[in-house]
Symmetry: none
Subunit: 436 residues, 2 copies
C-alpha cells in the first residue's frame, strides 16, 4: 500500500485532539470507543491526547470545534462522517475551515465503482457514493482496503489533520499502518509503551493488594513505570506503561515490569502479550497436539464461537454441541437420564458426563461440559441464577467446579465461557509457567 | 433538600454541551460514561446535547473548551474536577471564563468539617479541602448528600452552567433531582423522543435513497422529524427523533414516521422497537410454535449463542451443532460424503443438507445450515474469503443463498449469523408485515 509521506518537515507532533463525528454518538445509548484505540496508537509515538470531542452531524458545530482544537494541538484526528450520505459532513467542514476547495478524485471514484461491482448487487452504484471521492486541495488519500471511504491526510501549516473512517474495522488497520510509517516519521521519537497483563481467577482488590509493593518500586524506577488496574468481565487487566527516550529502553523496562508481575501473580496470569483467553487456549491445544470438544448448555454456543474466532482453530475444533434440553444431553452426549433425574441438569455429575460425552463423540483430547442457569428466570434457592457448573476432562484428569456469577444473562454466559476456557488453560499448562 | 430555583426567567434551555474533566479520561483504558446518563436526563426535558468533550486537568484547555461551548449551547454541564486537590480545576476555570471571583462559602466549609469529623480519622481536615467550599460569585450550591464536593448552579446572562461531581453515585442523584425540579422549570417543556428502525438486506446508500422523499417531508412537518442513518455490522439503523410540546404528541408523531418508514422499506425492516434480530426471530418462533435447530460450520456456534442470548430461548432452542470437519457434518447431520466430495463443504447443496440434517435431528420446525470461509486463510479464486452459504428449511419451504462478506474473520462470522437469522425471519414472517 502506497502510504503518504510528508514533504515538508515542520516541528514534531507531540499533542493531539480527537473529534468523533456522528449524531448517534450524542444519544444516551451510543458511546465513542474509537478514540480509545486512537489514543493508544498515538501514545505509542509519545503523542499526548489533550482533548477529545463528540460532535453531531451539524456542520457549524463541527467547524467550530475543529477550529478550536486546531489552535491548540499539533494533530487533529477525525473519525467518522466520511460516508456517502448528506449527513456525512466531515470532508466539507474540514475543507471549509482550512479554506481548501473540494474536488473529486477520479481514482477513488473508480475504486468505489469496482468495489461496488464486486458485490454482485442487482443495481449500479448510487451517484451519491461519489461524495466519498471528494478530497480537499492538497489532501492526500489513505487507501482503505476494508471499506469504501478512504482516509485523508492534510498537512496544514505546522499542523496535521487526519480524517479516518468511523467503522473500527476500517479505522484500526489504517491508523496502525500510519503509526508505523508516516505518523512515526512526524513524531518526536519519545516512546510511550504499554503492556496489558491479563489475569483470571482473582478479584480486582486482591490483584491490587498483591501488586502494591511493586507499584511503589515502579514509581521510583528510571524510567518510572505506571500501572492502572481495570476490572473487565471475567478478567482483571493490569495496564503497565512507561515513557523513555527510545522504544528499546521503554521495551526493556516494560519487559522487566511484566516479569515482576508474573512472578507475583503466577499461574493466574493468562496473557502478557495482548492475547485473549481463547487464543491462549488455542495455542496450548496446538502445542499439545490435542483437539477440543465442547458441550454447552447455558453458554449456548458461546465457548465454541469464541474458540472459532481464532484463525486456524479448525486444527483443534472439530465439533461442538449445544444441548439445551435433557433429551439432547442424552441423545447427543449419552448422559444417562437417571443421572439427570437424580442430580438435575445443573449439577457436577451432569457437567462431567457432558464433558466425557463430547470428548468421546468428537474423539478429542479435551472435553468441556458447561451447564447452568443464565437467568433471569429459572433460579431456585439452592441453585440461584448465575449458578454454573464447568467441567473439563482429558485422558489424564477430570475437573469439575461450581461457580456463582453475578450479572445479566449475557454477563453470566460470558463469565461461564471464561471459566471454562480458563479451566482448560490451567489443565494444559499445569506447570504454571507463563511465557513473558 | 433545598434546591435552587431560578430568580430571573431567561429563554428556555433547549441545547446543551457536556464537558467531562480528568486526565485519566484521556488514556486508552478509560472512557467517560457520565455523559450518557446526563444526555438521557436532559433528553427527557427536550434538551438536545449538541457536543461533548473530554478535557484533562489543564486549566487553559478547560477554559478554552468551556468558552467555545458556552457560545453555542444554552446549558454547559461539567462533570468532575471538583475534588480537593491541585489538579481539580473546574471551579477556577469556570470562575475565570465567567469573570466571577471565587469566595469561600462558610456553610460548605462547616459541612465539610462535620463530614470529615464523622469519619473518626486521627487527624483534622486538611486545609486543602477548603478548595471545595469555593463558589464563584452568584453561584448557588447544590447539596451533595453522597460525597464532599457540592454541585454548583450558575446563571450567566441567558446561559446556565452546572458543575457536577465526577463519581456517578454522587452525580446521578444530584442531576435526577435537578431534572425533576429547577432544571425542568428552565426547560421549554417539550419532549424529545427517539426510535430506532433496524433494516437488513439493504446497503446504507440504498436505504438513504429510498428514504430521501420522507426526509424532506419530515423537515417541513409539525413537529419536524429528524433522522440519522447508521451502518452497523450486518444492519442499517435509522435513528428517528422528534421534539414536541408533550410526550404524547412526540410519541404520536414518531409512531407515524416509523409507519411511513416501514411502508417504504417493507420487509427489510426487522425491528422498530429496539429489538435485536435474534429477539425478533425468537418472538416469531414462539408465535408460530416452532423450534429451531442450527448447524454451523464457519459461524462456529455464534448463531446458537446469539439465539440463546435471549431470555426464554429454551422454548425454541433444543440443540445445535458446530460441525467444522467433513466427518462431523456426516456423522452428526448425515450429510453424504459424496455430496461433500462433489460440491465441496462450502456449497449450496452442503448448506441445504446441513439444514435438513439438523432439522431432522432436533425434530425442529426450522433447520438452519451455514458453511463458508471466515478467513483469513482458506479462500480460493472461485470461493474467496467471505464466501458464506446460508440455508434455512421448514416443512413447507427450503431456501439457500450464497453471500460474499467483507471484513475480518469475526466480521464475516457476524454478518453470516445475521444473514442466517434474517433468512429465518423472512421465511416465518413472509407476509412482510412488520408490527410498528
Amino acid at each position: 500500500m502506497a502510504l503518504v509521506t510528508s514533504p515538508t518537515r515542520p516541528g514534531p507532533i507531540v499533542s493531539a485532539a480527537i473529534i468523533a463525528v456522528g449524531s448517534e454518538l450524542l444519544t444516551p445509548a451510543k458511546i465513542d470507543t474509537n478514540s480509545l484505540f486512537i489514543t493508544e496508537q498515538l501514545n505509542i509515538l509519545g503523542i499526548d491526547v489533550k482533548a477529545k470531542a463528540v460532535v453531531g452531524d451539524e456542520r457549524a458545530q463541527l467547524e467550530h470545534v475543529f477550529r478550536s482544537f486546531l489552535a491548540r494541538a499539533d494533530l487533529v484526528v477525525f473519525c467518522g462522517g466520511l460516508g456517502p450520505t448528506d449527513d456525512d459532513l466531515t470532508r466539507e467542514a474540514v475543507a471549509s475551515v482550512l479554506d481548501r476547495p473540494l474536488a473529486e478524485d477520479e481514482a477513488i471514484t473508480a475504486h468505489l465503482r469496482a468495489r461496488f461491482a464486486s458485490r454482485n448487487l442487482p443495481m449500479p452504484m448510487p451517484e451519491s457514493n461519489r461524495r466519498q471521492a471528494m478530497v480537499p486541495l492538497g489532501g492526500r488519500v489513505i487507501p482503505n482496503p476494508k471499506g469504501s471511504a478512504p482516509g485523508l491526510w492534510i498537512d496544514h501549516d505546522d499542523r496535521l489533520v487526519l480524517l479516518l473512517p468511523g467503522p473500527p474495522r476500517e479505522l484500526r488497520p489504517m491508523l496502525s499502518e500510519l503509526r508505523e510509517g508516516p505518523l512515526k516519521a512526524r513524531s518526536a521519537g519519545v516512546s510511550l509503551l504499554r503492556r496489558v497483563v491479563r489475569v483470571a481467577g482473582r478479584i480486582e482488590s486482591h490483584v491490587d493488594e498483591a501488586m502494591h509493593p511493586l507499584y511503589q518500586e515502579w514509581e521510583r524506577a528510571t524510567p518510572p513505570i505506571a500501572a492502572t488496574i481495570l476490572a473487565v468481565l471475567g478478567s482483571i487487566e493490569l495496564h503497565i506503561s512507561t515513557r523513555a527516550a527510545s522504544r528499546e529502553a521503554a521495551a526493556i523496562a516494560l519487559e522487566s515490569a511484566v516479569a515482576q508481575t508474573v512472578a507475583i501473580l503466577g499461574a493466574d496470569v493468562y496473557s502478557t502479550d495482548g492475547r485473549l483467553l481463547e487464543a491462549v487456549v488455542g495455542d496450548l491445544l496446538v502445542e499439545r497436539g490435542l483437539r477440543i470438544g465442547v458441550a454447552e448448555s447455558c453458554t449456548g454456543g458461546l465457548i465454541a464461537s469464541r474458540l472459532t474466532d481464532i484463525s486456524g482453530s479448525s486444527r483443534y475444533v472439530d465439533q461442538a454441541v449445544v444441548v439445551y434440553s435433557n433429551e439432547a444431553k442424552t441423545e447427543l452426549l449419552g448422559v444417562p437420564p437417571d443421572l439427570l433425574r437424580e442430580h438435575g441438569a445443573v449439577s457436577e455429575p451432569a457437567a462431567l458426563a457432558m464433558a466425557q460425552g463430547i470428548k468421546a463423540r468428537a474423539r478429542a483430547g479435551v472435553g468441556v461440559g458447561v451447564t447452568g442457569i443464565a437467568g433471569p428466570t429459572g433460579g431456585t434457592p439452592e441453585k440461584p441464577v448465575g449458578t454454573v457448573v464447568v467441567s473439563a476432562v482429558t485422558d489424564a484428569e477430570s475437573r469439575v467446579r461450581t461457580f456463582r456469577f453475578f450479572g445479566e444473562r449475557e454477563q453470566v454466559k460470558f463469565q461461564a465461557s471464561q471459566a471454562a476456557l480458563d479451566m482448560v488453560r490451567r489443565m494444559l499448562g499445569e506447570s504454571g509457567k507463563v511465557e513473558v
